[in-house]
Amino acid sequence: MILVSGRISAFITLLILCGFILWYIMEARKGRVPKLRRLPALEAIDEAVGRATEMGRPVHVSCGSGGSIRDEWASQVLAGLSVLSYVAELCAEYDTSLIATTPVADNFPIMSEIVREAYRRKNKEESFKPDMVVYVPGYNAASIGIMVERNIAANIMVGPFWHESVILAEVGASLGAIQIGGTATTHQLPFIVASCDYVLIGEEMFAAGAYLSRDPVQIGSIAGMDWGKVLAILLTLFGLLMEAAGFSIIKYLNM
């Protein structure tokens, strides 16, 4: 059993990154919980659901407008699902009506399971309705129809988004909803940033699940990611120095 050439450095790096994360998780288990910077977008979720409750209008959650749980977008979908789980719990607690939409059939059953689970945790399983989670083909035109029809008060969109992001966000704005957006599909980030009230930019959304759980062990995993960034910065600087000394490290990165 040998490593495939061209993937050796990637494998080693993956192990190092996992090592960072696991190290911090273990530290957190020992009670040394790292401090995190505030993420206003996540703190705004409570505010958004609270306002929707006061107004008696529903909360809309979207876990992406494409990208399935079974392909390379999975990590973004999972990040969206963790936000959905949190919002569903809040909605169950305050008896706020919730509507979660997805155009991706693969994600639909798991979203529905997550919402049901959140209601069960708050002992409100009887309030869970199958129409809380809706499969919406033709998302770009149909989701806004649902948003207008239900007159939503909060629009939370975290997940892999394509061109639909700006449509959803603008219609949400025209309804006067509080909007929280987050995505790691880079070409949609500009719209989320421009038209939402609160944003999770790229990597921040991956921290969402851990951040919202307030579970020290998961928070540890976020601190682990930071060392990955330090590794990237150091590698760049080291590469530059070596390059100046006439020695190229590039081929080792491609090993």
Binding site: G6, G66, E72, S174, T186, H187
Partner: protein, 273 residues
């Protein structure tokens, strides 16, 4: 409320209407505004123009309905260019939706006497996502043993000696979604094969970091397509659309200015209170 203040609080429907006019007018009477040529498009053109005789090109036609208007011009233009060169072309689709568009493209180009089966092959829609691409690189026959029409690949003269990525000299990939990175992972990173990318204009910013090391040329959206149409001297659907780009973009600039004037006066009055 003053007129200036009102500029900052316009009903969106006002500019929806203006937008319709900005799009419609150049379509009804074309203005014929000029288009300068950019480097990524020129690189793609030069690479295809200098392909040695007998090269094999794998053409991934993964464009579907929604984005056809943006990248269709580039697809037709590159396909036309390839057909005018002495190369062999293998076409496949990553998405089922792209199938009608492949046929549409092949019907709308001058084939320069190229014969099906000898000079080009259409494999049809190949399911399986990224795993399919990986399979295609190791052996085309592990993914499909027939072409789109059900003819076994071994009965097609040009496919006799072609089976894996090492037999292929260039990959042209046209897409409207974001699957290009999968192509990099499966074709470019492990085997170092050159890829030319045809993508919607909005994806250009996202994919620009990959140019020129990983993607040797990028044809982005209507504008890149119009440039390519100019390069091969066949103005087509993209060239028609470039006029509306000018008018709509100017409309947006005007609106941004109006929004800012409105905002400026609004703030001035609020400060005065």
């Amino acid at each position: 409320m003053s007129i200036f203040q009102r500029l900052g609080r316009l009903d969106p429907r006002v500019f929806f209407t203006l937008l319709i006019f900005a799009v419609a007018i150049p379509i009804i009477s074309p203005l014929g505004l000029p288009v300068p040529i950019t480097q990524p498009v020129l690189d793609a053109y030069n690479y295809i123009e200098n392909l040695p005789e007998g090269s094999v090109v794998l053409y991934s036609m993964s464009v579907a309905g929604g984005g056809w208007d943006d990248v269709g011009g580039g697809v037709i233009a590159t396909m036309q260019h390839l057909f005018s060169r002495p190369v062999k072309i293998i076409i496949f689709s990553y998405f089922a939706d792209s199938v009608p568009w492949v046929e549409y493209t092949l019907n709308n180009i001058d084939k320069h006497g190229k014969k099906y089966g000898e000079d080009y092959v259409w494999l049809g829609y190949l399911a399986g996502g990224e795993a399919m691409l990986a399979g295609l690189a190791s052996s085309i026959r592990s993914i499909t043993t027939t072409d789109a029409y059900g003819t076994p690949l071994d009965n097609l003269p040009m496919m006799k000696d072609i089976d894996n990525i090492h037999d292929i000299d260039l990959i042209v990939h046209a897409e409207i979604s974001t699957i290009f990175e999968a192509y990099l992972r499966q074709f470019q990173a492990p085997y170092g094969k050159p890829i030319i990318l045809i993508c919607p204009s909005m994806m250009v910013t996202m994919y620009f970091p990959y140019y020129p090391n990983q993607a040797i040329g990028i044809i982005g959206g209507v504008r890149g397509s119009a440039e390519y149409e100019l390069l091969i001297h066949r103005p087509g659907m993209a060239s028609v659309s470039t006029d509306t780009l000018s008018t709509t973009h100017i409309l947006i600039i005007v609106m941004i200015i109006m929004g800012n004037i409105g905002y400026y006066f609004e703030r001035k009055i609020r400060r005065g209170e």
